[in-house]
């Protein structure tokens, strides 16, 4: 543990963390609500109930035009869901911009996220320690596997989620058609957006699980107040 007045997390890291929590939850709920209106996924440019799906999510739909096999139709909530989805997306993008600029300026990424010393040996060593139930908690710094995951989420998965989301927009597609074509089409973008969301949800579950393992009270307080005490 560092000196008393050295915070575990900087103020701006804590602020952007909790803004991201709120924004991600809003995106997840509204995204699920939009998904319910057509729980079928396709590959390519176009897809509808007359075309072959890539896969179907076996849930009731909020539209009676979708054959789900269920005898009831959920209420249409897409009006506010779409409003909330894009507002939360804006809030997250602006938060993310601030986070990336602050992270670069303050060396936060290099010191805390950049997986320095990355090698197979380093990764397998962490995994071996985990499997051997050797304790990894209490460390003030993240191990190479944690750094690699955080780094990939921040600089790969979240940008890809934004990209695939925007690729569904007919207006954005009119300006950047290649951004849709390289993904395989508008419906492919929608399908990829769904898979990226599943990945992010899995990440959040794992992240919260690790918070529990590392000591819920201590880690949550560190992310709220800054210091571990």
């Amino acid at each position: 543990m560092g000196p008393v007045n050295t915070p575990r997390h900087n103020g701006w890291v804590r602020a952007t963390h909790w803004l991201t929590v709120v924004g991600f939850f809003a995106l997840l709920v509204s995204g699920l609500e939009i998904l319910v209106s057509h729980p079928r996924f396709y590959w390519g440019e176009a897809g509808n109930v007359l075309t072959k799906p890539l896969f179907i999510i076996p849930i009731p739909a909020s539209r009676d035009t979708v054959p789900t096999g269920y005898n009831f139709v959920l209420p249409d909530q897409n009006g506010w869901s779409r409003y909330l989805h894009f507002e939360a997306a804006w809030a997250l993008v602006l938060t993310g911009l601030f986070y990336v600029i602050a992270g670069l300026v303050s060396n936060h990424f290099r010191e805390n996220l950049w997986p320095s010393g990355l090698s197979w040996q380093a990764v397998t060593s962490v995994i071996r320690k985990h499997l051997g139930r050797e304790t990894l908690t209490g460390s003030a710094s993240y191990n190479v596997l944690q750094r690699l995951t955080y780094f990939a989420v921040v600089f790969l998965v979240i940008p890809l989620t934004i990209w695939t989301g925007l690729a569904m927009s007919p207006a954005i597609a009119s300006v950047f058609p290649e951004a849709v074509i390289v993904l395989g089409g508008q419906q492919s973008a929608r399908t990829l957006h769904f898979f990226l969301t599943i990945f992010l949800v899995a990440f959040v579950i794992l992240h919260v699980a690790m918070v529990y393992i590392a000591g819920f009270r201590k880690t949550i307080l560190a992310m709220i107040k800054g210091d571990i005490k």
Partner: protein, 251 residues
């Protein structure tokens, strides 16, 4: 001065600068017609950002057009025909007396039949019709670009939006002049080489391929040039009424 106090002052200054910047941005957006009519309320900020950004980006953009072999085998019909008496009556006479009224802030209000419309230069586009629900299809749409009709009617300079009405009771929508004058915004009467089927919006549908399907209102009987969406409509987007969908559907 202790750090707590300095932090407080810095935060205060930053907040004041932010608020001033936001105020200036709103004023500027209003001046350049970048303020969406539904920029108020809890979802106002998101809507304002989306509309202003996409308007700036799409100034000269064209909706994606596809190859003939990419046309969907069946142009999906979204559900059974509406049980609207006026539509059923028009369909019973084979849409022979279909009329479209052009009015509002125009110098020459006019009423046009389908035959009148077909005398204007036509345009065809193979575009994507994407519904906000998630499904889509690609089809070739043929019709008269809306700007031909608006030019013939002489839209006055006060007009900032075009309202378009369906024969269905209480169903209409509005678009800004940029979309109204866009070359791909057409009053469509043909689909994939034939007449536009009634299930896809025939005899006349407004096609707006840079926005999602709900802005492409079916069964058009009226075009009105207006200056203010909020004064004109009680609920902003009555498609379907009271559903509370965003006015701008570029995303």
């Amino acid at each position: 001065m202790n750090t707590g106090r300095r932090k407080l002052i810095t935060t205060g200054l930053a907040a004041a600068a932010g608020a001033t910047g936001l105020g200036a941005a709103v004023k500027l957006a209003g001046k350049y017609d970048l303020l969406a009519p539904d920029s108020s309320g809890i979802y106002g900020p998101g809507e304002a950002l989306t509309y202003a950004t996409q308007r700036l980006l799409t100034r000269h953009s064209m909706a994606r057009e596809f190859r003939r072999d990419q046309i969907s085998k069946v142009p999906f019909v979204n559900g059974p025909l509406p049980k609207d008496p006026a539509l059923q009556a028009a369909q019973a006479e084979g849409f022979a007396n279909w009329k479209i009224e052009v009015k509002g802030l125009v110098t020459h209000p006019m009423t046009l039949s389908l035959a009148d419309l077909k005398r204007y230069p036509s345009a065809s586009q193979i575009t994507h019709l994407a519904c906000e629900e998630g499904w889509s299809y690609i089809a070739e749409w043929t019709g008269v670009p809306l700007h031909h009709i608006l030019n013939a009617a002489g839209v006055r300079s006060q007009a900032k939006y075009i309202a378009y009405h369906s024969i269905q009771k209480d169903w209409w929508d509005t678009i800004d002049m940029e979309d109204a004058l866009h070359p791909q915004t057409i009053l469509s009467y043909g689909l994939n080489g034939g007449d536009l089927p009634v299930g896809n919006g025939g005899p006349l549908r407004l096609r707006l391929p840079r926005q999602l399907g709900y802005k492409s209102v079916k069964y058009i009987t009226g075009i009105t040039a207006i200056d203010d969406v909020n004064k004109y409509t009680k609920s902003l987007v009555p498609a379907p009424p009271e559903s509370g969908y965003a006015w701008y559907a570029g995303i």
